[in-house]
């Protein structure tokens, strides 16, 4: 029996996915018509041996409950959402819920990062892991990156039998072009390693950190103490994101605390794949991921793709959406539930979320149109594609920052937050509009709060 664990983080994470993540938790953002992590679930249920899927994150249960019960109904597999109440790092949550994961004595479990998109070859990964024998603790799905881009990921070197001999997370200089895809097979023995680590951390925490805090409990404070506290707070916050600071002993980074020490012990392996893979960090990468998931449907679920004389493949249209037959849609378009696309509309390379309305003759390209948003007649909503360089083999999405060195907005896809309205005949170019804004004119290269 196998299980799967999907790590989805929480609302404090995924800020680079704003404003899309302001309305929908990022793991539930629809890509190719399905919530992001439904693609993970689909990959898991391909394996009959996979009997239970656990989703771990710090989103509140009520945000996730509906999704979880929908998924159980759809895939007839046990799915549970486990909420972390304090941020415990990528491995902390896993360790915290170890009993739930081990329950029923699975032979192994898949571990999937919620913010990666891929054609997950889980069957092959499992087979590969099994062949490595009982010593194998973790097998990483790895893929080739360019020399330049590799340093933004976990980099690893392999021996001839695919054992990871060296692992380093986001090195400052080039190490290897083989990178960690954030998808693993883990033997339950990984919890032993984590337990040891946890005990070492706990010991360390009480001897060095807590000791410094013991005093009499009576103070005179200058208001400047807040400056010191602010500094500390920022340091902590930073170290939380980089994973390098002082944390509760329960805090554990999967990559740095578990994978890196396992390298060179002949317990960590990597399977190199050439399947499509991408991270979903920025909103721009949503359009790229959308294209690839739609492409996967051709093989995996052709019934999901809509066909028609005015549809340029690949296109997903939710059954409850109404699309006028004079509208020309595609390629690479996903249209959500209840969306209305009127006569003479043109949409390409875009995601249209639930209940949005695109009025007559409007054009939408390289954009995400939020829930309940409206685009007026003859309006033009246009972004700039930010796909990986097609001329470089193994190039990945560049997760470019929002602003360039001159403080100008980097050209990116255009995003309309929920409930935004774009007036008739205006143009919205390379802009980001926060939710519920009623625009009254054209905008270019702007963030509209």
């Amino acid at each position: 029996m196998l299980k799967a664990v999907i790590l989805i983080g929480g609302p404090q994470k995924g800020t680079r996915f704003r404003p899309l993540s302001l309305d929908i938790p990022k793991p539930l953002f629809p890509v190719a018509g399905l919530p992001l992590i439904q693609h993970h679930i689909e990959a898991c249920v391909q394996l009959e041996e996979c009997k239970e899927i656990l989703i771990i994150g710090s989103y509140t249960v009520n945000l996730m409950q509906q999704f979880v019960s929908d998924m159980m109904k759809e895939y007839h597999v046990t799915i549970r959402y486990l909420q972390e109440f304090t941020p415990l790092g990528t491995a902390g949550g896993l360790y915290h819920f170890r009993d739930q994961i081990r329950a029923g004595d699975p032979a192994a479990f898949f571990l999937l990062n919620g913010d990666v998109c891929a054609d997950f070859p889980l069957k092959e990964l499992w087979k590969f892991h099994e062949e490595k024998g009982p010593n194998a603790v973790v097998t990483i799905m790895g893929t080739e990156a360019t020399r330049q881009q590799s340093v933004h990921y976990g980099c690893m070197a392999l021996s001839t039998d695919a054992a990871v001999t060296h692992y380093v997370e986001k090195p400052s200089t080039y190490v290897a072009t083989l990178i960690n895809c954030g998808a693993y097979v883990c033997a339950p023995t990984c919890f032993h390693i984590m337990a040891e680590l946890f005990q070492k951390k706990q010991k360390n925490y009480y001897t060095t950190y807590v000791a410094t805090l013991i005093n009499c409990g009576a103070y005179v404070c200058a208001p400047t103490c807040f400056h010191i506290m602010a500094e500390l707070f920022q340091k902590k916050q930073k170290s939380y994101y980089t994973g390098n600071g002082v944390h509760t002993p329960e805090y554990m980074s999967w990559e740095q605390d578990v994978l890196a020490p396992l390298a060179g012990t002949n317990k960590l392996f990597a399977m190199q794949v050439t399947n499509w893979w991408s991270q979903l960090k920025t909103a721009g990468s949503a359009i790229y991921a959308n294209r690839h998931y739609l492409q996967l449907y051709r093989r995996r679920a052709p019934a999901r793709l809509s066909l028609g004389p005015h549809l340029l493949p690949d296109v997903y249209i939710h059954p409850t959406a109404t699309v006028d037959e004079s509208a020309v849609i595609g390629p690479n378009v996903s249209i959500g539930a209840g969306v209305q696309v009127q006569a003479g509309v043109r949409i390409k390379e875009s995601i249209i979320l639930n209940n949005a309305t695109i009025h007559e003759h409007a054009l939408v390209m390289y954009s995400v149109v939020g829930q309940d948003a409206t685009v007026g007649p003859w309006a033009r909503v246009e972004g700039t594609p930010s796909d990986p360089d097609p001329d470089k083999p193994f190039a990945k999405m560049d997760n470019t920052p929002l602003f360039n060195a001159d403080g100008r907005l980097n050209p990116s896809i255009t995003i309309l937050g929920a409930g935004v309205s774009v007036p008739a005949e205006t143009i919205l170019l390379n802009s980001i509009v926060l939710p519920h804004k009623q625009l009254t004119r054209s905008f270019k290269h702007e963030i509209i709060l």
Binding site: G344, R346, H361, L363, W378, R380, E425, I427, L429
Partner: protein, 369 residues
């Protein structure tokens, strides 16, 4: 030269057609400026028709460039109007006064005053009134003046209540007058004595001296006026012209379900379903506007095609150009002759040279060679 069978005593007019019309490029790369259609009629024909209306029987065109094209096309059109056309060729540009010296023989053939006008001007031409007023004061010359909002950009005319011009002030910093030279004059043949056959400016080297001698009068122009020598003003002038047609209840204005405001459409043009055309649009002969296109404040020249769902505002689309589906063009975009703009592009203030095919958006104003 042609049309030299002039009669004594007839009213003559000289039109300063002049040079290359560089300001109206890329349109003037394909056609001489006076032949570019303004509101579906060559600019020059607007003037010639108004002159004929005022009783002019001989028009002298002072040209220095592409005279052959012009001779061929204009002679044919003008013959219907019962006016004789004479071409006075400059071998070098002679400015605004030199051409009068060049045509001295024709202009001094009778003692009657003659009209002189710049070829870029569009207005309700007041030639009859101008001739009447000129005769009433009996001096050497009268210039038409028009009111502008920002006189500091021009040379202004200072004149007395009775119309006698005192002097001219170039680009005044302090407000002294809002009346500028409208580029239309009536002059007695005696003025020719003040002009030499060399490059010479009538505004700077002739009028100030006439004013000094008390021989120059000003007449206020009623209604609109525009120098349509560059694309932005060409479109503004078109709006003013169409508005004046509306005020006259002109039958030229098109009425139809898909039309908003003042629009003229050549009868040979085809308009699709679900379009919105106007306000302030001119659609030329043989133009095709496909279904669902929206066109505002534009001139679409002969034989052009505007494809489905395109949106155009403030553009001039050159002869036989094709604007693709879902294209957005705005901000004084000018397409030269036979330009193709591919589907779904955005063109913002593009000046596109003839016979070009555009496959990439032009997000900022730019010249496309």
């Amino acid at each position: 030269m042609c049309g030299t069978d002039k009669k004594l005593g007839e009213i003559r007019a000289l039109i300063l057609v002049g040079g290359y019309g560089t300001r109206l490029r890329p349109l003037t790369l394909s056609r001489p400026k006076p032949l570019v259609e303004f509101a579906n009629k060559p600019i020059l024909l607007h003037q010639i028709e108004a002159l004929v209306e005022a009783g002019v029987t001989q028009v002298i065109l002072a040209v220095s460039y592409r005279a052959e094209d012009m001779e061929k096309e204009l002679t044919e059109q003008v013959s219907k109007l019962g006016v004789s056309l004479t071409f006075s060729h400059e071998t070098e540009p002679l400015g605004t006064a030199g051409p009068l010296a060049l045509a001295k023989d024709l202009l001094s053939a009778s003692p009657e005053p003659f009209f002189v006008l710049n070829s870029d001007v569009i207005c309700d031409f007041p030639f009859k009134e101008l001739a009447r007023y000129h005769r009433s004061h009996g001096k050497e010359g009268t210039i038409v003046v028009t009111k502008v909002e920002e006189p500091s950009k021009y040379g202004v005319v200072i004149y007395k209540e009775d119309g006698q011009i005192e002097n001219f002030v170039e680009k005044p910093q302090e407000f002294i007058s809002n009346k500028i030279n409208a580029g239309m004059y009536i002059l007695n043949p005696s003025v020719l004595k003040r002009i030499e056959l060399r490059p010479m400016s009538i505004e700077k080297e002739v009028f100030p001296f006439m004013a000094k001698d008390g021989e120059l009068y000003a007449m206020d122009l009623q209604g609109f006026w525009m120098d349509v020598g560059q694309p932005k003003d060409f479109l503004t002038g078109m709006c003013l012209y169409l508005n004046s047609l509306r005020q006259k209840n002109s039958p030229l204005l098109f009425e139809g379900t898909c039309v908003v405001g003042n629009v003229i459409v050549d009868p040979s043009a085809k308009l699709g379903k679900g379009c919105r055309i106007g306000p302030n649009v001119t659609i030329g002969p043989d133009v095709v506007v496909e279904d669902g296109a929206c066109i505002k404040r534009c001139t679409i020249l002969r034989g052009a095609t505007i494809r489905q769902h395109a949106w155009l505002e403030g553009c001039i689309v050159g002869w036989r150009s094709v604007v693709g589906r879902w294209v957005r063009m705005e901000n004084c975009t000018v397409l030269g002759e036979d330009v193709i703009v591919k589907d779904e592009l955005y063109v913002n203030g593009g000046q596109v040279l003839p016979h070009k095919s555009i496959a990439l958006s032009v997000p900022e104003p730019q010249i496309i060679m």
